[in-house]
């Protein structure tokens, strides 16, 4: 499998302030990588470096020219007079010169992306009227329009009900099977166990590797601090970070 992203001893931050240091990992085509870490642990900063929004402060980074991102849904305006197709079409705008607005070809590409994520029938629905899970899928479609080999998802499961989350997880598996590399910031350790590799961040890289090797009590304690919760009577399998032992954690994000 091809390495799509290679990071070696990467440090990143804002101005003189280093938020994340010593990050070394690779992302190969077809892989789902869970990015775990507490809020403020550097997950979002890593995504921004991978997107090229900020330059690494130190270290080496190889990444494809185009990385797509699926942001947290609650940042998008639900009151905007736009359809699902309009939102997916937004993904094409950056490919056009500034004086051109998306035309037929761009809308066709957006329609194909909506089809790929199984929402072709909702193309004309108003974005704000869709369910949380459908909105998240439309934002995935917007990212797919640019046909980027690496897709970054910033806590896409937050605020989703069980059925929507299951659908999104299936979609993520399909996208990876198509040969993309997906980095998914998440709080869900159980989910991370089912994926290909795990990257644990807490201001620095705590661990990177296969879930079975990485998701140990020691690593999770180093990632989340001492405050992790062990469910009674279940060994390492049931360790959960402190803010994920109940459903619905959309309120965590400032």
């Amino acid at each position: 499998m091809r390495d799509l992203v290679v990071a070696e001893s990467l440090s990143a931050g804002y101005g003189d302030r280093v938020v994340l240091r010593d990050v070394s990992f690779t992302a190969r085509a077809g892989e789902r990588i869970a990015v775990l870490g507490p809020n403020g642990g550097g997950k979002t900063t890593l995504l921004r470096v991978l997107l090229g929004e900020i330059e690494p402060l130190a270290g080496r980074l190889e990444r494809p020219a185009r990385c797509a991102v699926v942001p947290q849904t609650e940042r998008s305006r639900l009151d905007f007079p736009v359809s699902a197709l309009d939102v997916a079409t937004m993904g094409t705008v950056g490919t056009l010169p500034w004086w051109r607005r998306p035309g037929r070809a761009q809308r066709a590409a957006a329609r194909a992306a909506l089809e790929a994520i199984g929402l072709a029938d909702k193309a004309q629905a108003t974005f704000g009227d869709l369910s949380g899970g459908q909105r998240q899928r439309v934002l995935v479609a917007r990212a797919l329009v640019r046909d980027a080999p690496v897709v970054l998802l910033d806590e896409p499961f937050s605020g989703l009900d069980a059925v929507s989350a299951e659908g999104l997880e299936r979609l993520i598996a399909e996208l990876a099977a198509d040969g993309r590399a997906l980095l998914v910031a998440t709080h869900d350790v159980e989910q991370a166990r089912r994926w290909d590799r795990v990257l644990c961040l807490n201001g620095r890289q705590v661990a990177f590797g296969a879930p079975a090797d990485v998701l140990t009590r020691e690593v999770l304690e180093a990632t989340y601090g001492e405050a992790i919760v062990t469910l009674p009577g279940a060994g390492d399998e049931a360790i959960v970070p402190p803010h994920h032992h109940h459903d619905g954690h959309a309120h965590e994000h400032a």
Partner: protein, 282 residues
């Protein structure tokens, strides 16, 4: 009866003065109505109002010295923008407060200058507009404004949507949010400068904010909102002139009243169509 209504509608058009006023409000309506949609969606209504008021001293100084109002207004806007940036950079003063302080100070300065004995007559038209007194140059400016606004909004449509919808991801989608913001602000400033001469310093914001708010209530897509906002602005401008003609009210104020009246009307239309839908569904 129908002939009487027809006569009443046609009568104002026989006056050259009113024909020019109709054209002026229609052109400003197209520009203000369309641009206003982005003002409302970007939540810039307060900024637009502040800018309009802050350019008063520039207008008054221009009127006092005989400079073109456009030049005075542009200088006024520049001073206001710099003063707001300066006041906003003082740590203890928030941006909101900075705008309020600067705008009140500048508007007060404008009023002070305007009320001095040396001021020539015609200050009233700076404050309340004088659509019946538009010159050929005013009409040409309004026409150019409508053209520039329509072309610019057409070209920037996709980028305005991306940034307005979720600014945090604009960069990743290949759109520079700052450039889009600056373009929108420049358009707003130009529109204010041109429209202030027809509609007046106090009322000019009505054409940017009221039709777009009304259109937002009755549209579910951006294209529909842009078209209906421009249509509402043109219709309200013309309705205001009719009211002014028959009720002998001030033209600028009548237009502003008609523009603002579109908002409750749109709200009513939405409520009625909502209950009609429910009745059909029941």
């Amino acid at each position: 009866m129908i002939a009487a209504i027809g006569n009443a509608l046609a009568d104002p058009w026989s006056s050259e003065l009113l024909r020019r006023a109709f054209l002026e409000v229609a052109l400003l309506g197209v520009a203000g109505g369309a641009l206003g949609c982005w003002v409302v969606l970007y939540e810039l209504s307060y900024s637009a109002e502040s800018l309009a008021h802050a350019l008063l001293p520039g207008l008054v100084v221009a009127a006092l010295t005989g400079l073109p109002l456009l030049v005075g207004g542009a200088a006024g806007l520049l001073v206001a923008a710099l003063a707001i940036a300066l006041a906003g950079s003082i740590p203890a003063i928030g941006r909101d407060t900075a705008v309020a302080v600067v705008v009140t100070a500048l508007f007060g300065l404008g009023a002070l200058l305007a009320l001095s004995p040396a001021t020539p007559a015609g200050l009233e038209s700076l404050l309340f507009g004088d659509p019946l007194g538009v010159s050929d140059a005013d009409l040409a400016m309004a026409g150019a404004l409508a053209l520039v606004v329509v072309l610019a909004l057409g070209a920037l449509h996709g980028r305005l949507l991306v940034v307005g919808f979720d600014r945090s991801v604009a960069r990743a989608l290949g759109v520079r949010a700052l450039a889009v913001d600056v373009a929108l602000l420049v358009l707003i400033c130009v529109a204010l400068l041109v429209a202030v001469q027809g509609l007046g310093n106090l009322l000019v914001v009505a054409v940017l904010v009221a039709p777009a708010s009304a259109a937002r209530l009755v549209s579910r897509r951006m294209a529909a909102m842009l078209v209906s906002s421009a249509a509402i602005a043109v219709a309200a401008g013309i309705a205001g002139l009719y009211v002014s003609y028959y009720a002998h009210t001030a033209a600028g104020a009548s237009i502003a009243a008609a523009l603002v009246a579109s908002l409750p009307l749109a709200w009513l239309a939405r409520a009625l169509s909502g209950s009609a839908r429910r009745l059909r569904g029941a």
